[in-house]
């Protein structure tokens, strides 16, 4: 079974690329295999070839595949230390700019976007900030733009917000409905939700801060390098790059072009 699967996998990715221009050919194999096995089960296909047949001929199956291949459910204020370091060490630099641009690539359903918007609001910077929140999955972007999260996740978000050095109560930023918390739309007035692929698209703006956390772990080394080169070319001199807790530029071809700014929280500064 595994032999055929390994043959079919690159064929399926090639087919998706040719038909829909989504490029998963340089995604990390270990996670991709798991996700494709789940997709096979979900679409009740006995093989990746059978799945490929459906993906090519049924666009709605491709939409479903996107959810299997891209969506990572994140939490607000994941890794309190990262947000504390942003607040205490990066914000003082950001204050020196008359206007700010921030890019959150791979924003998925937006938890990171609202976390950052709240932090910038509390630091008095949100009004002069434009946030680009980008992803390749249009359904995830719609959810991000809506800013509605299940109520049963909010207790964890509130705890993380407090640990991350939040100045108020998270409930100041949302309205609770029956089953959901709706985040204040003023938080996203300066947010541009947009389609952008780290695998196929190019630089679109000069920014002072990029946070891209637990996105690059899904890429192989070649695609990671492509993404990091995009970050380098998008950041202004001395701009900041925040990665996930277990991500590092150590294995990147562009390591020398960034300095470690807050090493333990994976915050880098472009040289």
């Amino acid at each position: 079974m595994s032999g055929e699967f390994d043959i079919e996998l690159p064929l399926l990715l090639e087919a998706i690329h040719l038909k829909y221009s989504y490029d998963f050919r340089r995604y990390a194999l270990s996670s991709l295999k798991r996700r494709l096995e789940q997709a096979m089960e979900h679409f009740n296909c006995r093989s990746l070839s059978a799945l490929q047949e459906r993906v090519l001929r049924e666009p709605e199956v491709m939409r479903g595949m996107l959810a299997h291949l891209t969506v990572q459910v994140s939490e607000m204020f994941r890794d309190a230390g990262f947000y504390r370091a942003l607040r205490e060490k990066v914000v003082p630099y950001l204050r020196t700019y008359p206007s700010l641009k921030v890019w959150i690539p791979g924003c998925a359903t937006g938890e990171e976007v609202y976390s950052l918007a709240i932090l910038l609001r509390e630091e008095g910077l949100l009004d002069r900030t434009l946030i680009y929140a980008t992803d390749i999955n249009p359904e995830a972007l719609h959810k991000a733009e809506a800013g509605i999260y299940e109520l049963d996740r909010i207790a964890d978000f509130s705890k993380a917000y407090a640990e991350a050095g939040g100045r108020a109560s998270l409930s100041d930023y949302y309205t609770a409905g029956y089953n959901a918390a709706v985040f204040d739309k003023s938080l996203r007035e300066g947010v541009l939700f947009s389609d952008h692929s780290l695998a196929t698209d190019s630089v679109f703006a000069e920014v002072q801060l990029i946070t891209c956390r637990n996105v690059l772990i899904y890429f192989d080394r070649v695609l990671q390098d492509r993404a990091v080169a995009l970050f380098r070319d998008s950041l202004c001199r001395k701009g900041f790059l925040g990665l996930g807790a277990k991500e590092s530029l150590t294995f990147s071809s562009y390591a020398a072009e960034f300095a470690e700014f807050v090493r333990e929280e994976r915050i880098y500064q472009r040289r």
Partner: protein, 206 residues
Amino acid sequence: MLGKPTSSATAPEAILIGGSAGAIEVVSLVLGALPADFRTPVVVLVHLPKQRPSALAGALSGKCRLALREPLDKEPLAPATVYLAPPDYHLLIDEGPSFALSVDEPVNFSRPSIDVLFQSAASVLGPRCAGVLVSGANPDGARGLCAIQQAGGLVAIQDPDDAAQGAMPEAAIALCPDAHVLATTEICQWVQQLGAWQTSPRRGST
């Protein structure tokens, strides 16, 4: 002692140890017994609350003669190193072999999940990895251990009667009846023999 190697079994490039409730004590004994010249990389995954830094590193530091650390994404497996699965990520083995991480949904209510680690290792290393499953109160790891065995790797399970929590070993025994079932002291010896096999390539014998 190595026993029952399948025809394809070969000196492991990585030894993977998974456990949950009651596992830290066993893992401490196994790691503590490893000699300073033990070369084969060891990967340890114990279910723990998602605090950071992880309680595992604290519990194990000072008990092991080898370098001990949480791997970064894409870090290649290095000899003479014990890697600890970081909290709140799945840990996988990818081509290289190197480590890969994911924040995909929990599996068996667990992130990291032992099944995810073991299945990825079986897929990439095949017969060149060995898996050990110890004490725990949930069935995570059983399918992964089975995957390693089916790929030709060597597997061992802590004797449920010897484990603080027997549910995890029992689930694994039910799924892979051919695996060795070993007491804690035997697990220590078994892991050491796997490492010795690496330095002097020779089939182990019972």
